[in-house]
Symmetry: C2
Subunit: 264 residues, 2 copies
DNA sequence: GGTTATTTGTACGTATGTATC
DNA sequence: TGATACATACGTACAAATAAC
């Protein structure tokens, strides 16, 4: 035995417990096992689990424990529960949207810390959206073009909800890129950047510039000009990023708001 | 009133309930409110929540309901619980690793469906790692170089756990890129691709080629040659992707395994 | 080192929603 | 339309763990 795996106290050897694992709560173990069943494919989307009571019996725990485990998995979009007679707990269809939403929440929190900087967000967006524009030009279908044109029209018409349409245009480009993963990852980045900055609808010339950029990008996508679309998107983002950086971070919405929960 | 917002039955008008929202479970509402408090910054990392009982009283629900909500937030790495006298529930430090792990699980499940294809994964990896290599060459510190050299040494020495070192090399390049977001997103993609394919350690010439590529990439990163590193990484991935595509998908580990939970 | 207070963890019973007959 | 059966949702009581005294 080595020094690090045993201790000698008053001449008596004490057995090492270094290789022992900390006891884990029952609900965590249940959740892990169920997760394994789903990830490994023993349970497939649409499959119905036994009733909570039966699952509890199978694991030798109470229903409350099972329910906590089910909530964990449900929050990760692996399960969902339906109450009532023909209800039950079912294995969920995996869903890119759920991942995007989780990612946006997580990135939002991280972006408030030193773990991730504004520059990293902006850089990542550029890295992702520029190649996306290239592929959109190469792969877009007619339907994509129809949607993009419609989004652009709406963007130029309504002045009140400009950001909504701005976002939609970019999301559609990502969709037209034909890579769901790209979209899944980029949309949250986009959302987080947005949440940190408020582009005032009043900044007329800014929005006019954005519109012009979008028109140019759409034209190049229509032409199937990958290189051109990539370059145009690059220019667009460089301009946008300059604006974002000049604005500085958005003041926290809840600065100084007292909470009944603030403790310690 | 329009046809769609009201119905006439036997001459008597029925009030519209179109604008009514479906009742949401109590635990979900509690989770949402607590999530808001965290995301909005009313609760900061390290803050301690009141005891479960007090939270239950505040929301007017039972402790079980609160616990389900806490499990949801804990599984999203927003909270953690410590049991015992000075224990309690605390707001967690946001953590890039947790996001990566969640992403890997989610992407793993998605990659088993039509929602995301192997090609999309490989393409995304290329899109992310090539610019990462460029930036690694431009931004790497001395420590990064030390780590990379060490990883490369280990990779060439031990033949049993080659993939482990292969992965480590790529992760280090991402780390050297100086963009945590890039790393956070790419590592899971890498992991999912790996999980779908088994590169047999026996394929000697394959691993030799990978080693040679890594040596070349490291050399260019050392030289601070961004363009070169990007090109070398690109070549490396093109070669790897060809291998992955030729191998075909890994057979599901649990194909045909009966489960006590398989129902319906 | 035992006692105790406070916390989370677990078990079980009741309420409520939903489809079917 | 109402009774019924079965699922999840919720509430209460008890057990176990931990730290301070």
């Amino acid at each position: 035995m080595t020094e690090s795996t045993s201790r000698v106290v008053q001449g008596r050897a004490t057995a090492s417990l270094d290789s022992v694992n900390r006891i884990r709560p029952a609900y965590e173990q249940v959740a892990d096992q169920l997760r394994q069943l789903i990830v490994r494919g023993d349970l497939s989307p649409g499959d119905r689990l036994p009733s909570e009571g039966d699952v509890a019996t199978a694991f030798g725990v109470s229903r409350g424990t099972v329910r906590e485990a089910l909530r964990v998995l449900a929050s990760a979009n692996l399960l969902y529960s339906v109450r009532g007679a023909n209800g039950g707990t079912f294995v969920a269809q995996s869903d890119p949207t759920a991942i995007s939403e989780y990612l946006e929440t997580g990135l939002g929190l991280l972006s408030g810390t030193e773990a991730i900087s504004l520059d990293e967000l902006l850089e990542a967006r550029e890295l992702l959206e520029v190649p996306a524009a290239r592929r959109a030009a190469e792969r877009r279908t007619e339907q994509h073009l129809v949607d993009l044109r419609e989004a652009l029209e709406a963007e130029r018409a309504e002045t009140g909800v400009r950001f909504h349409h701005h976002r939609r245009f970019h999301v559609l480009v990502l969709e037209a890129s034909g890579n769901a993963l790209l979209q899944m990852v980029t949309v949250p980045v986009f959302g987080v950047i947005r949440s940190q900055f408020v582009l005032q609808p009043s900044e007329k010339e800014l929005w006019a510039g954005i519109d012009a950029d979008h028109v140019e990008i759409l034209r190049l996508i229509e032409d199937g000009d990958g290189d051109g679309a990539a370059q145009a998107m690059q220019n667009h983002l460089v301009r946008l990023n300059a604006v974002y950086r000049s604005l500085g971070p958005r003041p926290s919405a809840a600065e100084g708001v007292p909470s009944p929960f603030r403790a310690r």
